[in-house]
Symmetry: C2
Subunit: 327 residues, 2 copies
């Protein structure tokens, strides 16, 4: 029942993505004077500008064997935050909505909520948890768009993920969200397999059911808080080498971007700025936008971006469209 629902949802999503791809291709061909598909623009949802140029220049430099900044494929590691970088995080993180349904009551910070959730989920078989997440994703709707959260990924970032992978980059998610949660859908939604999803991670416990069959249950012990300094620490734990490109949108991504940029050779660090209230949301005190508890883009982050050569992506100016379903 759960499985057939999630399959139906997956097929719908797949159909939607295929339709979106066909539309995008048709639009690109109409605009691009019939250029053959294999030389089609890999980033059709990006407007010309510093952000798009920075990406294309970086990829060319690192993949051209004649370039002094060439990087061997094994070292082409790119890491992406999720909430606010790959999909919508307002008005509350999608995972927080999921947790609130499991752990009702008055809670304040995300950290506190996750601690409570970890305790509540303790002893739950991992497979049961995954089925719950699948079920929730199939039915939950974003309050503004009335669409599944998995449709609220940013089309320009999806194109960026694909563009990097087409150039032999390994794309990783490095999210403050729960690792077990995000792994349920990351492969279908972003093309990122579970082994390339790093998130806040709790322990599991190995045991046997009554028929002697082994299974894993969730434990309340937190192994990795994958926010702030936890991001480079998690990258070391799970990847063991420094990324050469990193993408975020808030102070929680600061250390990941610093760590990425501090390595030798070609480096790319980018921050998504939410400055488009009409098509998505506008927030972040750095630009005089409202401050929110969710995804803070502070003045300090803005200043550091300038000092360190991180490229700020303006959703309003750099993105031709935000969602695949837009026309």
């Amino acid at each position: 029942m759960t499985l057939s629902r999630s399959r139906r949802w997956f097929l719908l999503l797949l159909g939607g993505l295929l339709a979106a791809t066909l539309l995008a291709t048709a639009a690109a061909m109409a605009a691009g004077a019939g250029a053959p598909a294999r030389t089609a623009d890999p980033l059709p949802s990006w407007n010309p500008g510093a952000a798009r140029d920075g990406i294309v220049r970086f990829v060319r430099q690192t993949t051209d064997p004649a370039s002094p900044r060439f990087v061997p494929p094994a070292e082409r590691i790119a890491t992406f935050d999720q909430d606010g970088t790959l999909w919508v995080e307002q008005p509350v993180y999608p995972q927080v909505r999921f947790i609130l349904e499991k752990v009702p009551g008055a809670v304040t910070t995300r950290q506190e909520l996750e601690r409570l959730a970890a305790t509540a989920l303790s002893g739950m078989p991992l497979d049961t948890f995954k089925a719950d997440v699948r079920q929730w994703l199939a039915t939950a709707r974003h309050p503004r768009w009335q669409r599944p959260y998995t449709e609220l990924t940013y089309q320009p970032m999806q194109e960026l993920l694909g563009y990097l992978r087409a150039n032999a980059y390994k794309t990783y998610m490095v999210t403050g969200g729960g690792q077990d949660f995000v792994r349920v859908y990351a492969e279908e939604v972003y093309g990122i397999p579970p082994e390339q999803v790093i998130g806040s991670a709790g322990a599991t416990r190995y045991g046997y059911d009554s028929s002697g069959r082994p299974f894993l249950t969730k434990e309340p012990r937190l192994l990795l808080n994958d926010n702030d300094a936890g991001k480079p620490e998690g990258i070391q734990l799970m990847i063991g080498r420094r990324p050469i490109a990193a993408f975020g949108n808030s102070t929680g991504d600061r250390q990941m971007l610093e760590y990425t940029k501090a390595g030798d050779g070609a480096r790319l660090a980018m921050l998504v700025l939410h400055d488009d209230a009409r098509r998505e949301y506008a927030y972040g005190p750095a630009l005089g936008l409202p401050d929110t508890k969710v995804g803070p883009f502070t003045q300090g982050l803005h200043d550091e971006a300038g000092r360190q050569g991180w490229i700020v992506i303006s959703m309003k100016n750099d993105w031709k469209r935000i969602f695949a379903f837009e026309r």
Copy 2:
């Protein structure tokens, strides 16, 4: 200095491997009546028998799209223990020798030793630790063969790693050894990149040096004890999906093999039995061989292998040669 030494060592190793490959190819061509290279035996160091047949049958079943047991490439995950499975673990684990040079004194169990080492290494920059390991590997010699430990890998297992990868398998190391230690050489020695090395893992701490440059230091806090039940738990933490093939040699690998075999569809679980005192070592109470603290192959493990359909590899009978340097 350290770097140039490790490079020299790497070039030597590379030269050795190339020479070994050429010799193996020449031998295979002489034996194989001039079969073209691309149909050459992928497992030339394996004798015909149940172990070799089990491997080849499994790979054919899982990679032939017409097979009812076909597995999509994304799910082709194979996990390997290291000590006693991929390289020599007698008379003491190589890493224990490394640690003993850092933490001299009387210590008993491996776990206690690793705790002491974690404390001793606490606060050390990760890059310093890695350089130390490189340096040690370049100079340390095995007491019996007087060769670097990295030459004491099992040639049949190297061929197995390559055979699986040639069939789109992702090969992972899942070792009780230290993750940071093994990652230093796993890519050069086994073709296993750092992100596919899972080991006993300590935390790191993100910080800044006096010039503001970020770096990671080692912390005494153990995140994962990657032995016994810690192996499937570590696999869940780092990969997030169940392997379909697993290889070990001792009770510390039991749960990893159980977990692997308990999934649906084609599964392969194998145990290396050290029964060749002449060419390597013979130990393991299951076959009346001496019991050692290192890599116990107990009667219980042997019985479980029989019940669960795990294939036992006899080093003496199944392996034509053990090391690449043998002639």
